[in-house]
């Protein structure tokens, strides 16, 4: 390509890391136009409400499962396909549950931002 200046191509990380030296200008007071401020306030309240349920579910799950293991040691002797049920509940079960939780919350958070 004649006439094109060659520029070093790098990952966004490296590029951003290098450019931070130049980009750091003076700090400015943040501003929002009135319409934007209203919408931002509405979105903020909506997302804050939406955040409660997934966080409760997450911490109930990751704190509750150890409690179940501690209270019901019999799960170690119960076997499914030869593998202790408690092992399966720890090695397999959390991952589909977390994936579903992520998908559910993603949909709710995006719907909250959708415009009519």
């Amino acid at each position: 390509m004649p006439g094109h200046k060659r520029v070093a191509v790098m990952s966004p990380q490296t590029r951003l890391a290098h450019s931070r030296r130049r980009a750091r200008g003076r700090w400015r007071v943040p501003k929002l136009d009135p319409a934007g401020a209203d919408r931002a306030a509405t979105l903020y309240r909506r997302q804050r409400t939406l955040a409660v349920a997934p966080l409760l579910l997450l911490f109930t799950g990751i704190l509750g499962l150890p409690l179940v293991f501690a209270l019901f040691p019999a799960l170690d002797d119960l076997r499914l396909l030869g593998i202790p049920v408690s092992w399966l509940a720890l090695a397999v079960l959390p991952y589909p549950a977390l994936t579903l939780l992520a998908g559910w919350q993603l949909r709710r958070a995006e719907q909250a931002e959708d415009r009519p």
Binding site: A17, W27, P30, A37, L55, F69, W87, L98, A102, L106
Partner: protein, 568 residues
Amino acid sequence: MIIAFAVAPVVLVTLLIGLRGVAAMRTTSDFLVASRRVSPLLNSAAVSGEYLSAASFLGVAGLIVKDGVGALWYPVGFTAGYIAMLVLVAAPMRRSGALTVPDFAEARLASPALRRVTAVVILVIGGLYLVPQFRTAGLVLSAVSETPYWVGVVIAGVGVAVTLALGGMRAATYVQAFQFFLKLVLFIVPAVWLLVQVGPAARQEAVHPVEFTEFDHDTRVVFRVGTTLDFAEPTIVHIGQEERRVEGTWDVPQGTTVVFPRGTEVPELAGEARPGGDEWQRPLLDIRDSGHPLLSTWALVVALALGTMGLPHVIMRFHTSPDGRAARRTAAFTVGLLSVFYLFPGIYGVLGRVLVPQLYLSGATDTAVVALPAQVDDGWPGDMFTALLTGGAFAAFLATSLGLVLVVSGAISHDLLPGGLVRLRITPLVVSAVVVLFALSAIRLDAGVLVTWGFTVAASTFCPLLVLGIWWSRLTVAGAMSGVLVGLFTSSGAIACALFGVPLDGWLAILVAQPAPWSVPLAFATMVVVSLRGRPPSWSRTAMLRLHLDEDSVGTPADRLRALREGG
């Protein structure tokens, strides 16, 4: 041999991509524009590629061999962290325009002092995260090629430093994404092969563990660090050609290779339970065998779930998303991708307990994954799979270390010592050298444990700063500063106590070795109380609301400027 076949290609490909690979594929402008339009799926593969470090690839399986099935709580916590990230941080952080937490601190609170303090926190987290990467790379290289430990660490350090010096990580998002799929394949295929090849007897034994009390074949153990073993009965062991009778306690000198003959009783290791016992089988993690497995498991998952959002190299990755919505999608997809990967460490762990339990004697359980293929097959397939796993482990080490060294260097040269004194190009060399020095003395520390401490410091400092900064408009500079300092000193102080072996028992030992359950609430409380005693600046609420405004309504920068002018 193995180094040549496994590690050299990974390093060479990384270097080649760094030097010219990407430029040859597209024109510059195409590439730069494309990098801002990275799809969430591709970006989440890149996030996962950078996140899956040596601790995930090797450390989890090693901790299962050593501590038991409960070590599977590590990957659960590693994944759960992205839910907290998705709910609380991903979109607003992207909308703040900040690349790093120091940037965020300045954008939200306008405090250069807070910027410097958070940069120091990055150094602490980066150090705790980098040292185990280098250590594990050194350990694996020395295990598969019989070289001394320090050679492996230095090779790892030189690899990282040279790659960064030759132009940083030019390897772009899709290379990181490729790295993720590479690691996934290099992890899953050997796991399936091992399961098939190992035979029904070993599979049966894997799910019906018995305590490792007797060597069932002549077993060779290399002690790279000195260790104290307790023998219940007099035992004949072979050291080289020499036969030696040992009884009682025996201080094994550093660098000894000992062969334990078949049928002898396995010695006890001070302070460690033998793999396979009743405690080993429980799906709870008993840190330091303190007798409170439930508390210990809770402390661990809380630290991991809350620490993820503060990891400096992960936050930077989210900036590649075009907007907040895409950043949120990236976090959600990452949960799914990590979930696939983390289904497999357990297989290596339980097979490692059957086939290489002796690694726990020398404290080298982190090499269990790469030691397995040779136990199952001593022909070329075994060698090939060892090489594949070593390559994968090295890819994991490189991806994480490159990102972290870059972030740590950035924190030093932009936030701590600005003014062109320290150039970004030289800092990575210095950082790598310092990490190598630390790693040389850290051979005893398991990768999983050190990395978890990195998460703990992140959870006690950046988690409250980000969560309150994004969701609470009354946060003040004084509040944020005192909260970060309290979190930093309590968490790193407790870790230092655990590291230097302050003798403690029971639940107190857990709360010192894993301080998240009290240090995180303490940091949150400090921030709230100090902020409430002060008065936030008038623009504070706007600065917070701005983070929640979706991009569509803002439009292009030109529109925004026009709107501001017209609005007066």
